[in-house]
Amino acid sequence: MLEGWEDWVDIDTIKACIRHASGAIVAVAIFLLMRLAIYFAVKDNTLRMTLETIDSFALVGLFLWLVYQTGCILWNRRVKVEKATPP
């Protein structure tokens, strides 16, 4: 019988999540720097707004991808525990 958060999370899961989160944070920082560069470098308003929209889209995508990966990690742990647990 599976119940409780221990079925989803253990120390390896947390470590994997931290690794993913650190990677995502650096990637987000890169995209924020790009946004800053766009803000200062592009004078044309329309073009700047378009580029900023694209950048925002990438940031949202990155966040969603991090959520998806975290979900995958937790789900894999759950499946592993489920296989190890006798019916």
Binding site: T13, K15, A16, A27, T53, D55, L59, V60, G61, L66
Partner: protein, 140 residues
């Protein structure tokens, strides 16, 4: 002792590369979204469709890049140099065998191991067995 920090650095850089690539993978969908919004399409529908498209692209990029970055993991081998056999295999640049040793000893969750096919190791080991025998007198 210094070498013990390298694998973590490799792993961290690997995830940075992967996530940066995912961000880049969302750019084409972002361009499509920007075009759609400027053309006056439904914002919610366009964003959902474009995010789905971006997710698909990101998945392809992630899978492909993860597979191609996998060989970079081999530098973590020196961690196991106390193992004599592993040290010999490291000298001969056989990473697959070491990878199997590593997966047997380490947690399967840690670090997304699983890109090197275990069956790759067998033929390599068979082919290098004579080399081991001739190179090292102790093996005779």
């Amino acid at each position: 002792m210094k070498k013990r920090h390298r694998p973590k650095l490799f792993e961290a850089s690997q995830y940075i590369i992967l996530y940066a690539a995912v961000g880049v993978a969302f750019i084409p969908a972002g361009v499509l979204y920007a075009i759609g919004v400027s053309a006056g399409w439904n914002k919610v529908l366009t964003s959902v469709v474009c995010l789905g498209l971006g997710f698909l692209t990101a998945h392809l990029v992630w899978t492909r890049l993860q597979a191609s970055l996998a060989p970079i993991r081999s530098p973590e081998v020196p961690l196991m140099q106390d193992n004599k056999e592993t040290a010999i295999l490291t000298t001969l640049k056989i990473h697959e065998k070491i990878w199997i040793l590593k997966t047997n000893s380490a947690s399967p969750v840690a670090g997304h191991v699983g890109y090197t096919k275990p069956f790759v190791a067998a033929p390599i080991l068979i082919s290098t067995a004579p080399i081991l025998d001739t190179a090292n007198p102790q093996h005779r």
